[in-house]
Amino acid sequence: MTYSEKVLEHFRNPRNVGEIIDADGVGTVGNPICGDLLTLYIKVRDGKISDIKFKTFGCGAAIATSSMITELAKNKTLDEALKITRNDVANALEGLPPIKMHCSNLAADGLKEAIKDYYSKRGVKLDEKKIIVLDDCPSCGFELKPFRDKSIKFCPRCGVKVTKEV
């Protein structure tokens, strides 16, 4: 497992570290038990992210992606910022080791949470994705239609995830 030069550069000199006391939106993602926790703070002026700061507990990739998202999101409109994906962050860092792509690449999710928080403080609900239960379990084929009303998330037979966002 090796990090790109860009990851190491951001890791060693992270941009926009800190908290914004009077933030307009705050997003926290990750879980310290898993070894990564990120809190993003945003200030919004005229529909744009005018300031953004982060605090992160985690590995090199977690810190570098946090730093990178602050650069990618700054001065973007909220709509533009919402479109930044995990892959955008990884690409801007010239790639992440495969094992880090899932667990430590949380920054894009953190930004979405912060923007959601900004909207919800203003009584606006972002278009929530609707979660549906699949017809059959994708792993064992168990028929799930009878369970639809019970809002299950996992297959009662084999335990794999059986919901989908639409």
Partner: protein
């Protein structure tokens, strides 16, 4: 920038005398020890000389009790699989401690797939095997027990003689991974009544890719590698004579020098532990304060993550390691740390410093200052530092998100 290497448990530099010796052998002594001609006999002699030197280092009575392998992982595989398969028609239980090296853990899993019962002996908060518990777990169905002399990650040493007494009283045999311990603390297979012992050359400043398994006379194992029947049929394959000779020389040097060197490293270790735990708040020692390897300082720092600590130290020329997840191939905290520290978050904040012959006590001040600065920097950017942590809440959140 002068580099300071504090990761000797991961790899030791080779002794210059060993390198010189091996260079000559690669050039002039390329014979196969199984050949009957002069060069073959010469290689055979080198092989047997090394066997004797390795045997002497661990107090083995006969040099024939040493089987050369490709390294400690192979030795651990040969010991456990070789013994379990050879004796599979009797007892069916294999016991290992909860803090064994990953090569023991994964062999134990494999044996469990083959139908053996595997039981894990618990350790206390310092990583010492709980002897009364071990006495309960090892029973009349137990075939073999594997417990290391010392743990290379947290440094804690075990009372191997007490363990072997428990094991033998139940009619089982004891294998011990001696890799972190040999050449650092007294290891004697006769005094400690160990039936099999794993050794690694590189940990003795010899070449990589060679190791040995001590198999006490009368301990019956079967090979896991088949071929021309070298090493008493227990490890087929043409012997890597230059590497084995290097291993032998490294063992000979270790035999003469280890006591003095261990005493020297212990001074550095103690200064390092004392300085770091007194100068940095919420910095704790992993493992036992005194019952520990002289070259191991394993610490944890609350509020930060080990990999980011190691990467930052590297930027200052200080090379160390973490038992924590994110630097390894899995993302789980190490099973060794998880067995002794209060929770996952603390395990993630661990730093392992392992000393060697190239370290000097004068380096401690520089190392401590850099670690202190890096820990402060990482804590300043950590959302966990300075705030109470409700682990139960996070644990629930994790359960909710599982499978997503």
């Amino acid at each position: 920038m002068r580099r300071i290497f504090l990761d000797h448990a991961s790899g030791c530099p080779m002794d210059a005398r060993v390198i010189k010796h091996m260079e000559e052998l690669y050039d002039k002594s390329f014979g196969n020890p199984s050949s009957l001609h002069t060069l073959g006999l010469d290689a055979r002699k080198k092989l047997e000389d090394s066997r004797e030197k390795v045997a002497k280092l661990i107090g083995a009575e006969r040099k024939e009790e040493i089987i050369f392998t490709s390294g400690a992982t192979e030795s651990n595989n040969l010991a456990l699989i070789g013994y379990a398969l050879r004796n599979k028609n009797g007892r069916r239980k294999v016991v290992v401690s909860k803090i064994e090296h990953i090569s023991i853990m994964n062999v134990a899993k494999y044996l469990s797939k083959l139908g053996f019962e595997v039981a894990y002996a618990p350790v206390d908060e310092y990583g010492r095997v709980k002897l009364p518990k071990l006495d309960e777990i090892v029973d009349s169905n137990t075939l073999i027990v594997s417990i290391a002399y010392a743990n290379g990650e947290i440094g804690t040493t075990q009372d191997i003689r007490a363990i072997s007494d428990i094991v033998h009283a139940k009619g089982a045999i004891l294998h011990s991974d001696g890799v972190p311990a040999v050449g650092r603390i007294p290891v004697n297979v006769v005094r400690d009544q160990v039936d099999m012992l794993t050794l690694s050359s590189n940990d003795l400043y010899g070449p990589k890719g060679v190791g040995a398994l001590y198999v006490k006379t009368g301990t019956r194992i079967q090979p896991i590698i088949f071929g021309g029947g070298q090493e008493k049929g227990l490890r087929s394959g043409t012997e890597n004579v230059p590497a084995i000779a290097g291993f032998g020389m490294a063992a000979e040097i270790m035999y003469k020098e280890w006591r003095e060197e261990s005493e020297r490293e212990k001074q550095i270790r103690d200064k390092l532990i004392d300085t770091l735990t007194s100068n940095i708040e919420q910095a704790y020692l992993n493992g036992h304060r005194t019952l520990r390897l002289p070259n191991n300082a394993s610490l944890r720092f609350i509020g930060i993550e080990g990999e980011s600590l190691v990467l930052n130290l590297d930027a200052y020329g200080i090379m160390a390691s973490t038992g924590s997840a994110c630097s390894s191939k899995t993302l789980e905290p190490s099973h060794v740390l998880m067995a002794i520290v209060p929770n996952e978050v603390e395990a993630h904040g661990s730093l392992m410093l392992t000393l060697g012959r190239d370290n000097r006590i004068e380096e401690v001040d520089q190392v401590s200052t850099v670690i202190k600065d890096v820990v402060s920097k990482l804590r300043a950017m950590s959302p966990l530092w300075g705030k109470p942590l409700d682990l139960e809440e996070w644990r629930q959140k994790m359960e909710h998100s599982e499978g997503e």
